[in-house]
């Protein structure tokens, strides 16, 4: 398909060319959106499939009135706390297991037994312990994100260049200083890979917990809007949480590229 516009492309400035390229690349999505727009209300009832224009209007409405923000902030709070806790615990656990045999012996069997359980299946258990609401959502996000972070930290800490550790030790760096100054910087790139893998998982865990056990948050809004038959609102909230998830990943990737200058 690159030769479709190759003939004219040579004559055009690069800005125009990349803009044309961008439009060309996204035509399929425009087609699908248009089909959806026309199908809504004709091929399928409008309430079953609200047109994109209706959903877009609803999103605008939600944003302008600020209705969505209180729920969005609660969702973001839950996901940040859950993910933050799992990064802190996961990094400690992963590095601990890689560097200290007793830690590995203690936790290995527990992780091996729990990793095939989809963590969202633990929502009912979390309801038993913590009730319906924020703490349940945080616990599920925490548990769901823990394993990818532990695995990446573990693999990275096992592979730390032993020469680095030896030379640091030879120069008198021991214990805690060795941990903070040598092990952590050497494992950060892979820990960030683990966090990158954990972000989409965190969103799935968050929305699951909010669908099953919450009376606030975006997942709750989606479910209740569906239950009362307010379908444009349901679709609008799905688009909003998807956009947030997408930009969370993109933002993280851009931040990582900027931050990891030494690698």
């Amino acid at each position: 398909m690159s030769n479709v516009n190759a003939g004219t492309a040579t004559a055009l400035p690069s800005g125009v060319r990349s803009a044309a390229r961008f439009v060309f690349d996204w035509i399929p999505l425009a087609i699908v959106t248009l089909l959806w727009e026309f199908a809504s209300g004709t091929a399928v009832p409008a309430e079953v499939l609200p047109a994109p224009s209706v959903v877009a209007g609803e999103i605008r409405e939600l944003l302008v009135t600020g209705e969505v923000f209180s729920h969005l902030f609660i969702s973001l709070f839950r996901i940040s706390v859950g993910l933050g806790l799992s990064i802190a615990a996961g990094v400690l656990l992963g590095i601990g297991m890689a560097r200290l045999d007793p830690v590995e012996n203690f936790f290995e069997v527990l992780l091996a037994l729990t990793y095939p359980i989809p963590k969202t299946a633990l929502v009912p258990l979390a309801i038993l312990w913590l009730g319906v609401g924020t703490r349940t959502a945080i616990l599920i996000v925490f548990l769901a994100c823990l394993l990818p972070i532990v695995m990446n930290a573990y693999n990275a800490a096992s592979d730390v260049d032993q020469n680095l550790v030896w030379s640091a030790k030879m120069m008198g760096t021991e214990g805690r200083r060795l941990f903070w100054k040598v092990i952590i910087p050497a494992t950060i790139p892979e820990i960030l890979t683990g966090v990158r893998q954990a972000i989409p998982i965190a969103f799935i865990a968050l929305v699951s917990a909010e669908l099953i056990a919450s009376n606030q948050g975006i997942g709750y809004l989606i479910l209740t809007a569906g239950q009362v038959g307010n379908y444009p609102t349901m679709f609008a909230n799905i688009v909003i949480i998807s956009a947030v998830a997408y930009f969370a990943v993109r933002g993280f990737e851009i931040g990582r590229e900027r931050g990891l200058v030494w690698t």
Binding site: M1, D25, W26, I27, P28, L29, V32, V48, M97, E104, N105, F106, F107, E108, V109, L110, L111, A112, L113, T114, Y115, P116, I117, P118, T120, A121, L122, V123, P124, L125, I127, L128, W129, M151, Y154, P200, F203, I204, L206, V207, S208, L211, I212, I218, G219, I222, L223, A225, G226, Q227, Y231, M234, F235, N237, I238, I241, S242, A245, Y246, V249
Partner: protein, 254 residues
């Protein structure tokens, strides 16, 4: 902590003590009444409930419902995902059409669509199966596409030079070379299929292990919830093992 390795008995014995400690603590603390029965019933009660549900067939029946939904949905997604993924990598027009759709579709937290599928297809089995298929399609398609793109060009050229037809080329060269990546996609999709099934069952009911769990919460029978989680753990472990064995078999030549 190599989860890929086969179980080795000596290592397992050496590292299994933490599990024993936790299970014994669970039993002792709950028998002494230090934790409310509703939050954490004694392990022995949970196991008794588990075997009771196993004996009267309730567990098997619900496990069958869950497995049917997850596995049929995953199978549909595998066929569609591999076809779309491979075509995306081999055909410019298909790539042009599907690439932006995958870019938009893949990051959607698919579980948010549960209420949509309840609206579109109801809460029956078909609705759950379609939801699993739609949700697991994306990782399978993306991995099939990326691994097909990375197939060694020299292999393809060599086969073409020897006059291999397009269909044979696909079956004998491209698909085998891409199969490790396709299996990786399946390994990502398998837990996702279970997640979607459980959440759908919890929100919409209709039987299954997820519905059984939430029924335990609603009827204040926490032993039921714990017994269902044990069953979920077994289902998860077995499916994960099966996929690893299948991967080892299929990719023996690599």
């Amino acid at each position: 902590m190599n989860l890929d390795r086969d179980f080795d008995v000596v290592g397992a014995l050496k590292s299994v003590y933490s599990l024993v400690i936790i299970l014994v603590l669970w039993e002792v603390v709950t028998q002494m009444g230090m934790i409310h029965y509703y939050f954490l019933p004694p392990l022995s009660d949970v196991l008794a409930r588990f075997f009771e549900l196993l004996a009267n067939g309730e567990l098997l029946e619900n496990a069958y419902l869950t497995l049917k939904r997850a596995v049929v949905g995953l199978a549909i997604a595998t066929v569609l995902g591999v076809v779309v993924g491979v075509l995306c990598a081999r055909n410019a027009a298909v790539e042009w059409f599907f690439d932006p759709i995958i870019k938009i579709g893949y990051p959607v937290p698919i579980i948010a669509l549960v209420p949509v599928f309840m609206l579109w297809f109801g809460i029956n089995d078909t609705s759950k199966i379609i939801m699993v298929a739609v949700g697991t399609f994306w990782p399978i398609a993306v991995n099939a596409r990326d691994s097909t793109r990375q197939v060694d060009k020299n292999l393809v050229w060599a086969a073409k030079m020897m006059g291999t037809s397009d269909w044979r080329l696909l079956r004998r060269v491209v698909l085998p070379a891409a199969s490790p990546g396709i299996m990786t996609g399946l390994q990502i999709a398998l837990p996702l299929s279970l997640i979607i099934t459980f959440v759908f069952e919890m929100v919409a009911g209709g039987g299954g292990l997820g519905a059984l769990e939430i029924e335990g919460v609603r009827s204040f029978q926490s032993t039921l919830t714990y017994a269902a989680i044990i069953a979920i753990m077994i289902v998860g472990l077995v499916l994960d093992r099966l996929l690893r064995v299948a991967r080892a078999r299929l990719l023996r030549w690599t």
